[in-house]
Amino acid sequence: MGEVNSDHVASPYYHAHRIDLEKCRGHMACMRHCPTQAIRVRQGKAVINNELCIDCGTCLSVCPEGAVRPISDPVAQLSRFRYKVVVPTAVLYSQFDPSIHPYIIHRAFHKLGFDMVVDVTPMSAVVAAALIEYVKSYRGRLPLISCYCPSIVRLVQVKYPDLVELLVPIDVPREITAREIRRSLPARLNISPEDLGIMYVATCPAKIVSIRQPAEKATSWFDGAVPLREVYSALLPHVIAIKQEFDAAQVPPDFHFDGNWVLEASLARDVRTERGLTVSGLDHVRNILDDIENSRLRNVDFVEAHAHMLGCVGGPFNVENPYVARSNNFKRGYDYGDPVTLNQADIETKMENGFFSIEHPVLPRPTKYFDTDLETSIKRMKERDRVHDKLPQIDCGCCGAPTCLAFAEDLVRGDADLTECLPLSSRPLAP
């Protein structure tokens, strides 16, 4: 018994993490921290509501038992491909000491058995330029919201369905990079397309989910994705070994490292600064999305939102503290970074040809709290308030719900028993 699927009901939504029921001791850390209140503790074990989960991975970071486990494609799975390509997130470099040349990290990937390492950042720069063009020429409801963070896309789908139309229909750099590799590489190497395997290294479960079950296309251009921290452990010994005999003269002349696009504000900085807004951390993002819904955010044309503080360097699969990673990124960028030169005319032609466009529109995925007709739902809502008034309202969590309000909601939906409220039934705490 390793990973146990805690949800027995078939759900149309795939998630990249599971509760390991043997390890879970019902500490409720995940329940309290979940930004969409998708977790309940039942019979001492955490249960994730698949419809509400937006794959941000907060539960993974806070679990003291390590019982929330990522489900990933093992690197070994790629061995079925003759030619293996890895596209690491730009954040990966920032996890290593800034004195380490990015080429060393690429060499370490070769030691792990990869035939090619592709840096995603040149595409990030090109996609950002396309995005600026899009925002400038767009005439419609504002502000537009960046599609870059898959957790934010899911948050909007689930909790802010009315804002789905504001998501910029431009695909993410990682997917476009993988697509271009797939289109050009087999011919260049004279191999069959089936022999090519492309793997992504991810900073959060949401990116793995966006590859396993994309919101905006039928299937991803990647063959799999692994959490950064797993790759890091495998890379580190090689990185140390290579560094010891490394000489900068070994770096081939065509090696290029951009070093940007790791932090929040990478996008909004370029999109007409005075009309752009950058926000990170789910609490702050939700405040901003609420403001957009109330049509309060009047002087902003573009919102770059990240689920994790500081952007992807704050992702739960990272090894390094986000602030250290940010500092590493600055230093490495200063020493080795070489921003790509953009060909504006080429970008405009590609835009017209749909090079950057998402393949399928992102659709709303509103949550059904009460799966009943409006009249019954209104009554249940009324009862929720009535019950909530009588609950102790101390949000102790002993019932297994994060707040008294969430408990009242579960209750009128028939998903909880009033006797589970310990302060109310004045029952002694279970030993």
Partner: protein
């Protein structure tokens, strides 16, 4: 009808709350499903149930019932009796089964009402299903948007179409900000039915001398300070008008303004 009458007609035995036997009840509700008791039960009822656990007792307390009758001779084995005593609920046990017990209960109007369907039908005839009141203090910009965000979240949770929710959110927000900018305080009342959502903002303040003028796009009395915060561009009331299906403004100079907004839930765009 007194609970004592019910006890007698059911041949029931008292388990708790003897001193409450003279309490008057208005309805009888029969169910084993506690989420239904919570959703459809009315205050001042007594519950007939086969669920002999504390859950039935706590649910009845939540639904503001006066007591619980356990049918088929069942008796709760947990701390139900203690809970009932603490919260002034009557607990009775009858040897009759649910069907028989329902038949034997005489309504205060002389006919049997102890029927789940009947109780359900009655509660369906109520016009406004959900009413909620919020208060807003003038001048407190830090709290601007809290009420509209709560109203929005409530309507979303119920399951209204997001386009209607958006219209309500925008208007409530504009109204809320008007109170914060121009009035002393206000009560915001939300009334919800499946077909109409109504938001009434009733403020105490200086009032609007010329409502027609205030409705004009660009007309504003906001200070520089408010404009610096992104408000007071004279778009508030026109924006509300564009997003409501029915809007009434009455104002008493020196006393206050009442803004009454109605939204039809099947009209998505205006």
């Amino acid at each position: 009808m007194e609970i004592r009458t019910i006890m007698e007609s059911l041949g029931a035995q008292i388990l708790a709350g003897e001193e409450q036997l003279n309490a008057e009840i208005e309805h009888v509700y029969a169910s084993d499903l506690m989420s239904d008791v919570l959703a459809f039960g009315k205050p001042n009822s007594i519950l007939l149930t086969g669920l002999a656990t504390q859950q039935a007792v706590i649910s009845s307390h939540m639904a503001e019932f006066k007591g619980v009758v356990f049918v088929r001779g069942k008796r709760p084995k947990d701390s139900s009796e203690r809970f009932a005593k603490e919260h002034q609920l009557v607990l009775l046990a009858t040897p009759l089964d649910m069907f028989e017990a329902c038949l034997r209960v005489k309504s205060p109007h002389g006919e049997s009402t102890a029927h789940p369907a009947a109780a359900d039908k009655e509660s369906r005839s109520v016009g406004i299903l959900l009413c909620k009141e919020f208060s807003v203090e003038g001048g407190d910009f830090s709290k601007g948007g809290l009420v509209s965000t709560e109203v929005k979240s409530l309507l979303k949770t119920i399951g209204f179409d997001s386009r209607v929710v958006r219209r309500v959110a925008i208007c409530t927000y504009e109204g809320e900000m008007n109170v914060i900018m121009h009035a002393l305080r206000a009560r915001i009342r939300l009334a919800v039915t499946p077909s109409v959502i109504e938001v009434v903002i009733d403020d105490e303040g200086k009032g609007i001398p010329d409502v027609d003028l205030a409705m004009q796009q660009g007309f504003t009395t906001a200070t520089e300070e408010m404009r610096a915060m992104g408000f007071g561009s004279g778009m508030g009331l026109p924006n509300i008008k564009n997003n409501t299906d029915d809007l009434k403004i009455t104002s008493d100079v020196g006393k206050g303004t009442t803004l009454s907004m109605k939204f039809l839930t099947d009209r998505w765009e205006k």
